[in-house]
Subunit: 149 residues, 2 copies
DNA sequence: CAACAGTTTAGAATTACTCTAATGTACTGC
DNA sequence: GCAGTACATTAGAGTAATTCTAAACTGTTG
C-alpha cells in the first residue's frame, strides 16, 4: 500500500470506501460525521477485521484523521448496537470488535492475542441443555483457545 | 446459616471445611496461610461457584477474616495455576473464577451477570476446522449467552 | 441560515487490576 | 523451641482500559 497520497488527495478506491461507509451509516440511522466516516472507512473495507479501541484509535490517527479516543469508544459501541460490529470477549484485558457480524466462532491464540474467525455454518453443537424457562438464546460463542507448540 | 458464632467459635462443619481447604493447599504445594485457608474454605465447600475478586474479597471480610484485595488476586491466580480454579472470561469488565475445574461450558445471563455451568460430557461440537500446524488446543469454551424474556 | 438536537472532545473519574517495598509468618534445621 | 530464611501479605501507589462530564462543535430541519 502506497503512503504517497497523504491527507490531501485521496485515491479513487478510497473515495469508494468512504462512500460505502457513508451509506452504511445512513442505513443505520447514524449521522455521517467526519469521525464516523473515517472509522467506518477503516472498518468496512470488506475484510473481516478484529480491532481493539486503542488499535483503531492509533490507526485512524495514523491515517491523518483527528478522532479522540472517547469517540472511538462511542463509535465502536454505536456500530455494535447498530449491528455493524460484534463485540468479542476473549480476554479480560480488552474488548475486541469484529467486523464479521455473520454467524461464526473464534480461534484464539492466548499468547499473541491473535483472533481468527471460524464460519459457523458447518459447526454443529449438540447436547446443550434446554433453554431455561423465561430466557432465550442471544448467541452461542465458541472459543477455541490455542497454544503454540 | 447462623451468624451467632462469630470469629471466635467455629461450627464443627466449618472446621471440617477448613481442614479440607488446608489439605487441598498442601496437596497443591501452597503454604497454608491464614488467608489462603479462609479463601479456600469459602471456595472449596463442595459447591460449584463463580466469583470475582471483588465479590470474594467482600465475602471473606464479611466472614470476619482480614484479607487484602491484593491477596485475593494473588490467591485466585495461584489457585488457578494449581488447577484448583478456572478463569472464565465472559464479559470485558471482570474475570470470573470457577470452582468447577472439570470439562464444562457456560450459560451466561448478560443482564444479571449470572453464570451457570453446563457439563461438557454430553456436549459434542462438530465441524470445527483442523487445528493449525504448530498449535494445539488448550481448551474449547462454549458460552451460551441468554437474554431474559 | 438560524436553531437545536445530536456529536465530539479533553481531561477527570472510575474500575479492575498489578506492582512495590516494607512488614509478617510458615517451615526448616538445630 | 527458636533462629533464620524463603515465602506471603499488605497498604497504597501505579497502570490500563474504559466511561463520564460539561463545554464546544456540526449536521439537519424548518
Amino acid at each position: 500500500m502506497s503512503k504517497a497520497s497523504a491527507k490531501t488527495s485521496k485515491s479513487a478506491s478510497n473515495a469508494a470506501i468512504v462512500q460505502a461507509a457513508l451509506e452504511k451509516l445512513r442505513a443505520a440511522g447514524l449521522r455521517p460525521t467526519k469521525q464516523r466516516i473515517a472509522l467506518g472507512a477503516l472498518l468496512f473495507d470488506g475484510r473481516d477485521r478484529h480491532v481493539t479501541a486503542e488499535a483503531l484509535h492509533d490507526e485512524v490517527r495514523g491515517a491523518g484523521a483527528d478522532v479522540s479516543l472517547a469517540t472511538v469508544y462511542n463509535t465502536l459501541h454505536q456500530f455494535t448496537e447498530a449491528g455493524l460490529l460484534r463485540e468479542v470477549v476473549v480476554n479480560a484485558g480488552a474488548s475486541h470488535f469484529d467486523t464479521n457480524v455473520g454467524a461464526h466462532h473464534h480461534l484464539y491464540y492466548a499468547d499473541s492475542g491473535e483472533l481468527h474467525d471460524v464460519d459457523a455454518t458447518d459447526v454443529r453443537i449438540e447436547g446443550l441443555p434446554a433453554v431455561p424457562r423465561g430466557a432465550e438464546i442471544e448467541r452461542v460463542d465458541v472459543i477455541v483457545r490455542l497454544r503454540r507448540r
